[in-house]
C-alpha cells in the first residue's frame, strides 16, 4: 500500500535535478552531493575513487533510507582543491578506467576468436 512504484528506483521525476550540491556551512572545503535515483552501484564506486585523491580528506556515501531512492556523497578536501573539483576528477578518472577496461576486454575476446582459427 505504501510501497513506491518500481520505476521510481531509476526514473527521475520532472522538475527534480539528478545531482544537487550543498556546501557545508560549518566546515571549510566540504560539501554534500545528493544524487537522485541511484544506489550503491554508483555510490560505492565514486567513494572509492575519491579516496584515491590525496587532496580528499573525507569521502563517504549513504542511502538515507532504502525506500527513498537517492544517495548522499559527502566530500571534504584540502584547500588545494574543492569538493566539486575532486568529484568531477573522480568521475572522469572512472570514465577513463572503464574505457580502458572495455578496450582490454574487447581485444581479449577478439584474440580468443582468432586463436580458434
Amino acid at each position: 500500500m505504501n510501497a513506491p512504484d518500481r520505476y521510481e528506483r531509476f526514473v527521475v521525476p520532472e522538475g527534480t535535478k539528478k545531482v544537487a550540491y550543498e556546501r557545508d556551512m560549518k566546515v571549510m572545503n566540504a560539501g554534500a552531493f545528493t544524487i537522485q535515483r541511484e544506489d550503491h552501484t554508483v555510490g560505492n564506486v565514486v567513494r572509492m575513487q575519491l579516496h584515491r585523491d590525496p587532496n580528499v580528506l573525507f569521502a563517504g556515501y549513504k542511502l538515507p533510507h532504502p525506500l527513498q531512492y537517492k544517495i548522499i556523497v559527502k566530500v571534504q578536501t584540502t584547500s588545494q582543491s574543492s569538493p566539486i573539483q575532486a568529484y568531477n576528477l573522480a568521475l572522469s578518472d572512472l570514465d577513463k578506467e572503464l574505457e580502458h577496461l572495455k578496450r582490454a576486454f574487447e581485444s581479449e575476446v577478439a584474440q580468443r576468436q582468432t586463436d580458434y582459427y
Partner: protein, 320 residues
C-alpha cells in the same frame, strides 16, 4: 590540474562460450567489480513481454497466470540496447505499441487431438525475426530431449481447450521487474594467495599432513605421492572458510598456512539466460555504468550551476 588517479585494469579470459564467460579481472578495485556485477544483474536492458491481450483462454490456468509466465520467457534481445523505452518514445505518444519501442507476438493454439497438447514458446509468433524466444538445448544425456531444441512450456491443453492472445514485448531493466534480467548468475571471487610455511610443515608426520589436508571441505591441498610434501592443487577451490587454519591451530601449529584474498584480483563468472551473449552482456554493462557516471556529473557553466553557486565561484575553484 592534470592529475589523474586512474587505474589500468587487465583482463584474461579463461572460458568463453555463448552463454558462459569466465575471466580474471586484475588491477582494479572491488567497488568496480561489484558495480559491474550489480549492473549486469539489474540494469542491462533486454526485451520481455509486458502487455498481454487475451482473446480466448479455456485452459486450466487463469489469464494473469499465463500473462505472468509469458513475461518470464527470455527473448533474444540483441537489439535492446538501441531500442527506446516505451515511456520515452515520441513516435507513439507513449502508447507503447510502435515499431521503435515494441515487438508484437501472437499465440493461437487449440487442442484438437485426444492427447495433451503442450503449448510452448515455439508457438509464439514474433513480428520481428530477430526477437524470438530463446531456444534451449537439452544437456542431460539421460533425458529424452538430449540435443533437441525444446521450447519453454507455457500451459498444457486438453481436447477442446484453446488459447489465443496478442502480446507486446518492451525494453526494460531488471530494477523494474526481474523478467528483464539477462543474467542467470554473475559471481566474482577474490583470487586467493596461499603461502605454506614449509618449516612448520616439515614438523608434521605424514598422517598429520593427511589429516590436515582432509580437513578442508574443498580440495585445495594434496600430498604429492613422490615427495610427500603438501602442495596447493586448486587455490580457487578455497571458499574462505578458515577450516584449515582452525585445524592447524587445533593441531598446535598456528601459522602453518597463510591465506589472503588478493585485494585487486577477481575471478568473474558470468552466465546468461540466452537473451544476450555473455560477453556482450559484460560490454553492455560497462557502457551502462559509464553512462550512469556521466549522468551524475555536476555541470558548472550552466544556468543551474550559476543559480546554485553564483558567488561561490571562489569556493568552486579551490578557495583562491
Amino acid at each position: 590540474m592534470e592529475a589523474s588517479y586512474q587505474r589500468f585494469p587487465t583482463v584474461r579470459i579463461r572460458d568463453l562460450k555463448d552463454d558462459f564467460l569466465k575471466f580474471e579481472l586484475r588491477d582494479t578495485d572491488a567497488s568496480i567489480a561489484n558495480a559491474l556485477r550489480r549492473v549486469i544483474i539489474a540494469e542491462v536492458p533486454t526485451l520481455a513481454i509486458d502487455l498481454v491481450e487475451i482473446e480466448a483462454n479455456s485452459s486450466v490456468l487463469n489469464d494473469e497466470f499465463i500473462a505472468h509466465r509469458l513475461g518470464l520467457i527470455p527473448l533474444t534481445s540483441d537489439k535492446a540496447m538501441e531500442m527506446r523505452y516505451s515511456r520515452d518514445c515520441d513516435e507513439c505518444d507513449g502508447d507503447g505499441r510502435c515499431d521503435y519501442c515494441s515487438i508484437e507476438f501472437t499465440l493461437s493454439v487449440k487442442c484438437t487431438s485426444e492427447e495433451t497438447l503442450d503449448v510452448t514458446s515455439h508457438d509464439l509468433q514474433s513480428s520481428d525475426s530477430q526477437v524470438v524466444p530463446v531456444d534451449s538445448i537439452g544437456h542431460d544425456p539421460d533425458i529424452e530431449n538430449f540435443n533437441q531444441k525444446k521450447g519453454i512450456l507455457i500451459v498444457k491443453l486438453r481436447k477442446g481447450q484453446e488459447l489465443k492472445l496478442r502480446a507486446i514485448a518492451r525494453k526494460g531493466i531488471a530494477k523494474d521487474h526481474a523478467k528483464w534480467s539477462p543474467a542467470a548468475t554473475v559471481t566474482f571471487q577474490y583470487e586467493p594467495d596461499i603461502h605454506i610455511n614449509e618449516n612448520l610443515m616439515e614438523t608434521l608426520s605424514v598422517e598429520e599432513k593427511r589429516e590436515w589436508v582432509d580437513s578442508s571441505p574443498t580440495k585445495v591441498f594434496e600430498i604429492n605421492p613422490e615427495t610427500q610434501q603438501v602442495e596447493v592443487i586448486d587455490p580457487e577451490a578455497y571458499t574462505y572458510d578458515d577450516e584449515v587454519i582452525k585445524k592447524a591451530e587445533a593441531m598446535g601449529k598456528p601459522g602453518l598456512v597463510e591465506i589472503y584474498g588478493k585485494e585487486d584480483s577477481f575471478i568473474f563468472t558470468v552466465e546468461s539466460t540466452g537473451a544476450i551473449k555473455a560477453a556482450q552482456m559484460f560490454l553492455n554493462a560497462i557502457e551502462i555504468l559509464r553512462s550512469k557516471l556521466d549522468a551524475v556529473k555536476l555541470n558548472f557553466g550552466s544556468d543551474e550551476a550559476d543559480e546554485q553557486f553564483g558567488d561561490l565561484g571562489a569556493h568552486m575553484r579551490g578557495g583562491f
